[in-house]
């Protein structure tokens, strides 16, 4: 809650002080406020500071930041700080874009803390609407325009489907509050058959949420939109939207846990197809950004495996997985942004990176290894704990996950083909010290949590 307030007020300040001015200065302020907010959320989580009296007016049926949610909030804020900190500030654009990013982040936090369908819906929209704008913020670029309109139309469409689901759930349970909903569903479970309204509602709401995390067959927007949007926005979409979306989805589904055996029957196929399609389609891509888009689709598939595990048991694993995915992906997008040119997103952009910039080369290697889930990186830790836990509930889903991981290595290791070529790479910019510190921080986290998983498990 305090993180949300800090982000909202800093967004307002950045918006009004920096409008139409170059965003260089606002960027530092943004990263700073994100880190402060992350710290405060952490403190709130550890009960160093007590905010209960401050936010007593917020009914817990609306927004309830319990321990797990607070740690997710801190994680999301921290990842946003890395994403924004790593990306260069634009010379031309005003700082209103940063303000919008922070507003979107507010939406993400609301999603994480929501305890009410209205709140969840508002969170989704507050997250999405600024993102529609941000996707098209490069106004004179036709690809950005196309990305914006695709994202907007499909997003609005999925929202409509989600809302129909909400209406059915409201009709079926008579409430919009998560806890009460669970009671009603549990009550219905005693009579054997679940009301058709609830079943339809769950399916339709899932469609809306699966769209947000880009699971097959609602993934079509993501490769196109990821490719067309500016890099910073893509990075934000791939990480924050996916994490917030999935956590909100998991919290939503936890209300229907009595129907667990029913809904995993259709979620497992979705997860399997998502993993396979993401990885296989990723294999044939030429553009790095598109490959990462498919990689993030595959990761959505892995995420859905969390729903196999009862909600009470998967919180910690979900945190580790989000951390792993967020760190590695943000480093990858940073490198793509640094080395790609406006018309070249091929894997060849990494040609000779090892020769010209050792730090970036190390970051590339670590991020790729972590995404592929190679041991001694956090990616391995995350996948290991996820698969081993999910294996207790469904073996075949995990087997598909493993097959998918094996396929993914084909495209994750593509940069290596070029990285060690003895050739000097021309970068379009130098990284600042601050950026490099953030990068090293991310790299250290990838390695340390991979080598010593005991810290976070």
């Amino acid at each position: 809650m305090i993180g949300l307030s800090i982000i909202f007020f800093s967004a307002i300040i950045i918006l009004f002080t920096g409008i139409q001015k170059p965003e260089k200065k606002s960027k530092n302020l943004t990263v700073f406020s994100l880190l402060v907010a992350a710290l405060f959320s952490l403190f709130e989580n550890l009960e160093v500071i007590n905010t209960q009296t401050l936010f007593a007016w917020v009914p817990s049926s609306m927004l309830d930041f319990n321990n797990f949610r607070l740690s997710m909030v801190a994680l999301v804020l921290f990842l946003s700080a890395i994403i924004i900190g790593l990306m260069p500030s634009s010379e031309k654009k005003g700082s209103d874009l940063l303000g919008l990013t922070l507003f979107a982040l507010c939406g993400g936090i609301i999603m994480l803390g929501s305890n009410h369908l209205v709140m969840l819906f508002l969170g989704i929209e507050i997250l999405s609407i600024p993102l529609y704008v941000l996707a098209g913020s490069d106004k004179k670029n036709l690809f950005a325009n196309e990305a914006a309109i695709k994202y907007f139309l499909m997003g609005a469409f999925s929202t409509a489907i989600f809302l129909l689901g909400c209406a059915f759930i409201y009709g079926g349970t008579g409430t919009l509050i998560f806890g009460e909903m669970q009671l009603k569903v549990g009550f219905a479970a005693h009579f054997g058959e679940f009301p058709i309204l609830i079943k339809l509602g769950v399916i339709l709401m899932s469609v809306g949420m699966l769209f947000k995390i880009s699971a097959v067959p609602f993934h079509f927007w993501s490769p196109d939109v990821y490719e067309g949007s500016p890099n910073r926005v893509t990075s934000f979409m791939a990480i924050i939207v996916k994490i917030c979306g999935f956590v909100a989805f998991a919290q939503l589904m936890s209300n229907f846990e009595p129907m667990h055996s029913w809904y995993i029957k259709w979620l497992i196929p979705i997860s399997g197809i998502t993993i396979l399609l993401g990885n296989i389609a990723g294999m044939v891509q030429k553009s790095v950004k598109r490959t990462l888009a498919y990689s993030s689709i595959a990761h959505a598939g892995y995420l859905i495996l969390f729903l196999l595990i009862p909600y009470a048991e998967n919180a910690q694993i979900l945190f580790v997985y989000s951390l792993s995915y967020g760190l590695s992906t943000s480093v990858m997008f940073y490198l793509i942004d640094k080395y790609s040119t406006a018309d070249n997103f091929d894997f060849t952009i990494f040609k000779g990176i090892f020769n010209s910039n050792k730090l970036d080369a190390m970051a590339l290697i670590l991020a790729v290894l972590s995404l592929a889930g190679i041991p001694a990186t956090i990616g391995f830790t995350a996948k290991y704990v996820l698969f081993s836990k999910a294996f207790e509930y469904n073996q075949w889903a995990v087997v598909i996950g493993l097959v998918g991981s094996a396929i993914s290595i084909v495209y994750y290791f593509k940069p290596f083909k070029y990285a060690f070529v003895n050739e000097n790479l021309l970068t379009n910019r130098e990284s600042s010290l601050f950026t490099n510190i953030l990068l090293v921080l991310a790299m250290l986290s990838i390695v340390v949590f991979g080598l010593i998983p005991g810290i976070i498990l």
């Binding site: 139309l153 079943k199 399916i203 079509f220 196109d224």
Partner: protein, 630 residues
């Protein structure tokens, strides 16, 4: 702040500082940081000493965090400092400091100076990890880390392909041993469900585990020790490993790394006491190593190789003592050996430095006058190793011989023979190098110089230690309440061999006399040959038995024939037939199938939003239809 974390952390800190900033700071600073971090570590270990003296059961524990946990099985990153590990820590950090000081001068001209110190510090850190870890997994980490560091340091001058090969050989030989260790650890997990030293040994002491299991575990662990401590058949890497800079040889291959195997066996003494077959295996392996290595040492002409084979042989001695259950004696010999072998290696380094990187003793001679300090310290080292009465080596070796005599007369006779050989090759080395005439045409005698103060100072300190090291554990005919070390280790090693007390004073005196006699014989024999007759080792390779010896018993060639060649043939076959014809066909086939599906996806992902919306609706329909028809 826990003392233990400081002892462990300082070398790591040194490694990190040198590793990251080493290239940017001056050499003197990076050398200083490397040395001081180890030295402070040494000081802190000494400061811990009084508490250990006061209370025999005193231990310092450091429990950091859980590394991994499965149901009931926890792997903790935890360290314990007890009397045994403190003793080892003192040796490692103490000798380590001296070698660091020496290296500052020795490596002065090298461009990888900071890298060298970073590796050295990392090596010390790993060695401490090995010694201080409170469970097998921490020991294993240290074990592997030490192996890695030795690989890096042996191949330090990696531009020379031969050196690189030596480094690889060391690494591979060690890996073979590690496999045994790992299997042993797995067996321990399977048997005891934990890897904590204390718990495992308590279980063993309860006597619930069968002797066969203990024997199996003991032998597997010993295979690990064989790799690290260079015992037959895994010993050929150590002489080759002399490719590294000389301080590395002194640190790794004399004073610390090779003692890891000894440490492992001492640490597991509770297990070995109860496994007789494993003990026999250890004795005979150690014995054969002691003799074979000593024989090979006779015919080597490279100053460092002679010392290397001497190390292998001395390690054989230690294992004989371990096999007989005399853990204290083995540790005593480890200690004295660390002193005089470090001294000898550093002395050899000093000679090499003075001769401008000449290692062949046939091209030396008469260096006595030019390098007095090196000569005298080297002399002390030689006397110590050959068993000159009342120097450190005399006591420790004599103790081993006594124990062997008590155990089995055959073992004793063979060991005495080996001790005689030790005397011969060591005096040969001394005489050929420092006496006689100078024999190198390419490097003028006048240019030969004594090494700088930073190098001779460690030599002198080590010489003093080599002389008085014996005081650490005087035999009981000189000190009735038992040696210092023996009393020191009593709380750690419950069951110590009490062999010395079973034989009479007279027998013991006879044994001592035999030892002295051996020394005198070796001295006279060698002196007659190399000083009186002024013989110089031959240029051409000898034939017959001597040829076999000077060719190191063809160990390398036999390994080549038995292991390397068949594997090469097999791998060529695998590469050309299995890989190209079968595996790659299959994998390319799978790849092509996957690419085909990827291509199909391209048709769907055609960029047209209408199609996307349609597919989404179809997806919703399928989901709802699933619900409707179920």
């Amino acid at each position: 702040m826990n003392t233990l974390s400081i002892i462990l952390g300082l070398p790591l800190l040194g490694f990190i500082i040198n590793g990251i900033f080493g290239s940017k700071i001056p050499k003197s600073l990076s050398g200083g940081i490397g040395t001081i971090s180890v030295f402070l570590s040494f000081i802190f270990s000494i400061m811990a000493l009084p508490m250990f003296i006061e209370n025999p059961e005193y231990t310092i524990k450091l429990d950091l965090f859980t590394f991994l946990s499965f149901d009931t099985f926890n792997l903790r990153v935890a360290f314990t400092l007890d009397r045994l590990s403190l003793w080892m820590t003192l040796i490692v950090t103490g000798i380590g400091t001296l070698i660091h000081v020496y290296s500052i001068s020795y490596m002065k001209e090298d461009e990888g100076f900071y890298k060298f110190f970073a590796y050295l510090n990392f090596f010390i850190f790993n060695m401490l990890l090995l010694i201080l870890g409170s469970n097998f997994i921490m020991l294993f980490f240290g074990w592997e880390g030490v192996g890695l560091c030795s690989y890096l340091l042996i191949g330090f001058w990696y531009k020379n392909a031969e050196y690189g090969k030596a480094a690889r050989k060391a690494f591979i030989m060690n890996r073979i041993g590690d496999l045994g260790l790992l299997l042993g650890i797995f067996m321990i997990i399977q048997q005891f469900g934990t890897l904590e030293f204390t718990t495992v040994f308590e279980e063993i002491n309860k006597g619930t585990v069968s002797v066969n299991t203990l024997n199996a575990i003991g032998i597997l662990l010993f295979i690990g020790a064989m790799g690290k401590s260079a015992q037959i058949p895994l010993f050929t890497w150590l002489p080759d490993a002399m490719a590294g800079p000389t301080p590395v040889s002194a640190l790794i291959h004399a004073a610390t790394m090779v003692t890891a195997g000894i440490y492992l066996v001492i640490r597991c003494s509770a297990l070995y006491v109860l496994s007789p077959i494993a003990n026999e295996v250890i004795i005979w392996t150690g014995l054969s190593t002691a003799i074979v290595a000593a024989l090979i040492g006779l015919k080597q002409n490279d100053i460092k190789k002679v010392l290397a084979y001497s190390t292998v042989s001395q390690l054989g001695f230690m294992f004989v003592a371990l096999g007989c259950g005399a853990y204290t004696t083995a540790l005593f010999h480890v200690t004295t050996h660390a002193f005089f072998k470090a001294l000898l290696f550093l002395g050899a380094g000093s000679v090499i430095h003075g001769m401008h990187h000449e290692q062949d003793i046939r091209k030396m001679g008469g260096l006595k006058s030019k390098m007095p300090i090196t000569y005298y310290t080297f002399l002390i080292g030689t006397l110590a190793i050959t068993g000159f009465p009342f120097l450190s080596g005399f006591f420790s070796k004599d103790e081993i011989l006594t124990i062997a005599f008590n155990h089995n007369i055959v073992v004793y006779i063979l060991l005495v023979g080996s001790a005689l050989l030790t005397g011969i090759y060591m005096f040969r080395l001394l005489f050929v190098t420092f006496f006689g005439e100078y024999r190198n045409q390419h490097y003028a005698f006048d240019k030969v110089h004594e090494s700088p103060r930073l190098m001779t100072l460690p030599l002198m300190i080590l010489a003093v230690l080599s002389i008085f090291g014996g005081l650490l554990n005087l035999p009981h005919y000189l000190q009735h309440e038992g040696g210092i070390l023996q009393n020191w280790l009593k709380p750690v090693i419950g069951l110590t061999h009490s062999g010395q007390h079973e034989i009479s004073f007279n027998t013991e005196m006879i044994l001592v006399s035999i030892a002295v006699l051996v020394f005198v014989t070796a001295f006279i024999l060698t002196r007659m040959r190399y000083i009186s007759r002024k013989q110089v080792p031959q240029e051409q390779t000898p034939t017959g038995v001597l040829g076999i010896i000077s060719n190191k018993f063809y160990f390398d060639e036999i390994y080549d024939l038995i292991f390397v060649k068949p594997f090469e043939t097999m791998s060529i076959w695998l590469q050309q037939v299995f890989e190209l014809k079968i595996v790659s066909k299959i994998s390319y086939g799978i790849h092509d199938i996957l690419r085909f599906f990827g291509g199909l996806n391209k048709k769907i992902q055609n960029g047209n939003i209408e199609y996307y919306l349609m597919f989404m609706v179809i997806g919703v329909l399928i989901l709802l239809g699933f619900n409707f028809f179920n």
